[in-house]
C-alpha cells in the first residue's frame, strides 16, 4: 500500500460522495458542488493510480491540469445558468416547487 494508492482510494471515495450528492440533492448549487467534488475525486484517481505502479509520471499531471480548466469552464457556465434561472423563476431546484426546501438561494 503506497501513498499513491491511498490517493486513488480517497479519490474513489470522493467520487462516491459526489455521485450521491449529484443524484440526491435538489438544490442546484449543491448539485454543482457535488459535481466539483466528484471531479476532484476523478483527478485524484487520475494522478494516484498510474504513479502507484510506475513511479512519478508527468502525463497525468498535465491531463489533470487540462481537466481542471474544463471543470472551471463548466462550473462557470453552470453558475451563470443557475443564477439566471433563479432570477427568472425564483426557483433553486429543477423539480418545480417555488423556492426550495432550504428557502431561497444559498
Amino acid at each position: 500500500m503506497t501513498s499513491y494508492l491511498l490517493y486513488a482510494l480517497a479519490g474513489a471515495a470522493l467520487c462516491g460522495i459526489g455521485l450521491f450528492g449529484l443524484l440526491r440533492l435538489s438544490h442546484l448549487l449543491r448539485k454543482l458542488l457535488a459535481f466539483n467534488i466528484m471531479g476532484s475525486g476523478v483527478f485524484l484517481i487520475m494522478v494516484g493510480l498510474p504513479q502507484h505502479q510506475s513511479g512519478p509520471d508527468p502525463v497525468p499531471q498535465a491531463l489533470v491540469l487540462t481537466g481542471i480548466v474544463v471543470a472551471i469552464a463548466a462550473t462557470a457556465l453552470a453558475v451563470v445558468l443557475i443564477r439566471r434561472y433563479y432570477h427568472q423563476s425564483g426557483m433553486t431546484s429543477l423539480e418545480g416547487e417555488a423556492g426550495s426546501r432550504e428557502g431561497g438561494p444559498l
Binding site: 459535481f35 466528484m38 476523478v42 493510480l49 502507484h52 502525463v59 445558468l81 434561472y85 429543477l94
Partner: protein
C-alpha cells in the same frame, strides 16, 4: 498540404468563434458565411487527400503523444467530417435567417455555433482518449449554451438539466480514462489495442470500459438515461435542435462505437453486448410510443430522436463475437443510420421550425389547414419522415436493410423484431402529424409566410436523406478508404 487541412479543420472554427464574439449578429452572419465556405472546402480537401494517399496519423504542431495531440484520420473520420460540413452549413445558413436578430443576446449564437463545430471536428479526428474528452466537453458546453439561448425560465431549466446530465456523463467517461491510463500507461486507442494483442486481457479494465460506455450512453441519451433530451431538444430554437439531434448526440455515440470496436472483443462480454442492444431496442419502442403521445410538434420530433438513437446501439450485439462479414455489415448499417438520421432529423427540425413560425403555435392541433399555405415545408417534413420510417429508397431503408441482414446472419433474429416494430411505430407518430396538417379548420385563415431560403434548406437536407439510399455504396466506400501505414504510431 496536410498541415493546412488540419489547421483548417481545427484552428479556423476556433478562430471564427473568437471573431464572431467581437461582432454583432448581422456581421457574425457575414463572417460565418465565409467560415462555412472554408470548412466545406477543407472537408472536401481532406476527403481528396485520404482518397489519394490513404488514412494517416498526424501530430498536431509536431508534438507527439502522450503530451501532444495525436489525430487519427481514417475513412470513418472523413465520412463524419463531411457529414458535419453538410449539416452544420445548412443549420448555420438557416439560423442566419431564422433567428431574430433584434434580441441582443442572440449574437452569441455564432461563437457557440463555431465552438460546437470545432469540438465536433476534434472528436471525429481524435486518436487518444483524453483529447476525445476535451472535444466532448467543448461540444457539451457550447450545446448547453445554445439551448439556453432561448432565455426564458423553461429554456434555462432544460439547459441546466442537460448540463448536469452531460457533466455526469463526462465524469464517468473521464474516470474510465483514468483507470485505463492506470492499467496500460497509454491514452492512445491504438496503443491500448497493441497492448491487448500482446497480453492476455486483465480483469480490471472491463470496469473502465463499462464506465466509459455508460457515461457516453448518458450523453447520447440511451434509454433509460434519455430524460434530459426531449426538453432540451424540444425547447431550443429550431436550427439549434437540428444541430443537437443531428450531430451532438452522434459525437458521444461515435466515441462509444470506436471504443467498443477497439476494445469490445477483449474487454467486453456477451452479456454486456446483449444488454446494451436490449436497452437500444427498448429505446426504439419506448421513444416511439412516447412520440405518439406528445401534444407539441417539436416534442414528437425530439422523442423520435430517442427512438432513432436506440437503433445505433444495436451495433454492440451485432459486432460482438460474430464473423467478420456480419460485423462489417453491422458497422456499415449503423454508419448509414447515423448519416440518414442526421440529414433527416435536421431537415425535420428545420421544417418543423418553419411550420411553427407559420402557424404561431407549437401544438400539433394548431397545424390544421397548414397544408394549403405551407406545402413546401410540409413536403420537406414528409420526405424526411420517409427516411425515418425507413421506406425504400431512403437512406434509412438502406441502413435498416443492412442491420436486418446482420442480425439474421449472426442468428440474432430478435433484433429484426425491433427493426420492424420501430418502423411501424414511427409511421404511427408521423401520420398523426400529417393528419393534423391536412385537417381543415375554417377559423384560422391567417398564416405567416417564412422566406424562401428558410424553406429551401430543409428541402435540400430531406432530399439528401432520401437520395442516400441510391448512393449508399459510394458513401460506404468513403468509410472503407484504406489506412496508409498500419499499426500503432
Amino acid at each position: 498540404m496536410t498541415l493546412w487541412l488540419m489547421a483548417g479543420l481545427l484552428f479556423t472554427p476556433l478562430a471564427w468563434a473568437v471573431l464572431t464574439l467581437l461582432t454583432d449578429f448581422v456581421w457574425g452572419r457575414r463572417v460565418t458565411w465565409v467560415g462555412i465556405l472554408v470548412q466545406v472546402l477543407v472537408s472536401l480537401g481532406l476527403w481528396l487527400t485520404v482518397a489519394q494517399h490513404g488514412g494517416f496519423y498526424y501530430d498536431l504542431g509536431g508534438w507527439g503523444a502522450p503530451l501532444g495531440i495525436e489525430l487519427r484520420v481514417d475513412g470513418l473520420a472523413v465520412t463524419f467530417v463531411l457529414l458535419t460540413a453538410a449539416v452544420a452549413s445548412a443549420c448555420g445558413l438557416h439560423a442566419g435567417v431564422y433567428i431574430d436578430q433584434h434580441k441582443p443576446w442572440h449574437r452569441y449564437f455564432w461563437p457557440l455555433f463555431w465552438f460546437l463545430w470545432s469540438g465536433l471536428n476534434a472528436v471525429w479526428l481524435g486518436g487518444d482518449l483524453f483529447n476525445l474528452y476535451v472535444g466532448l466537453e467543448l461540444i457539451s458546453l457550447s450545446a448547453v449554451g445554445l439551448v439556453a439561448l432561448g432565455g426564458n425560465a423553461n429554456a434555462l431549466r432544460a439547459s441546466i438539466r442537460y448540463l448536469l446530465a452531460a457533466l455526469l456523463g463526462s465524469l464517468a467517461y473521464l474516470l474510465g480514462v483514468a483507470l485505463i491510463y492506470g492499467q496500460f500507461g497509454t491514452l492512445s486507442i491504438a496503443g491500448v489495442v497493441a497492448w491487448l494483442d500482446n497480453h492476455s486481457a486483465p480483469a480490471g479494465p472491463g470496469l473502465a470500459l463499462a464506465l466509459m460506455i455508460t457515461g457516453l450512453a448518458l450523453k447520447t441519451a440511451l434509454f433509460p438515461l434519455h430524460r434530459w433530451l426531449p426538453p432540451a431538444h424540444g425547447i431550443a430554437k429550431s436550427p439549434v435542435s437540428a444541430l443537437l439531434s443531428a450531430l451532438v448526440v452522434k459525437a458521444s455515440f461515435y466515441i462509444a462505437a470506436r471504443l467498443w470496436l477497439a476494445f469490445g472483443e477483449s474487454l467486453g462480454s456477451l452479456a454486456a453486448a446483449q444488454m446494451v442492444g436490449l436497452l437500444g431496442g427498448a429505446a426504439v419502442v419506448w421513444g416511439s410510443w412516447l412520440a405518439c403521445k406528445q401534444a407539441q410538434l417539436k416534442q414528437v420530433v425530439a422523442y423520435s430522436s430517442v427512438a432513432q438513437i436506440g437503433y445505433l446501439f444495436l451495433l454492440f450485439p451485432l459486432t460482438y463475437s460474430v464473423s467478420e462479414s456480419v460485423s462489417l455489415q453491422a458497422q456499415q448499417g449503423i454508419t448509414l443510420q447515423v448519416i440518414s438520421h442526421a440529414l433527416a432529423k435536421a431537415a425535420m427540425f428545420l421544417a418543423a421550425g418553419n411550420l411553427i413560425l407559420s402557424v404561431g403555435s407549437s401544438r400539433i392541433d394548431a397545424l390544421a389547414g397548414v397544408s394549403r399555405f405551407l406545402p413546401f415545408s410540409l413536403f420537406s417534413f414528409g420526405l424526411a419522415g420517409v427516411s425515418l420510417m425507413s421506406l425504400p429508397p431512403s437512406g434509412g431503408f438502406a441502413a435498416k436493410w443492412l442491420l436486418l441482414q446482420a442480425s439474421l446472419g449472426s442468428g440474432q433474429w430478435w433484433w429484426a423484431l425491433v427493426l420492424l416494430a420501430g418502423g411501424l411505430l414511427s409511421a404511427a407518430y408521423l401520420f398523426r402529424i400529417y393528419r393534423a396538417s391536412f385537417a381543415e379548420n375554417p377559423e384560422t385563415d391567417q398564416f405567416f409566410h417564412p422566406s424562401k431560403s428558410l424553406e429551401i434548406i430543409p428541402m435540400v437536407l430531406a432530399v439528401m436523406a432520401l437520395g442516400l439510399g441510391f448512393v449508399s455504396e459510394q458513401v460506404l466506400s468513403v468509410m472503407a478508404l484504406p489506412f496508409a501505414e498500419e499499426g500503432a504510431p
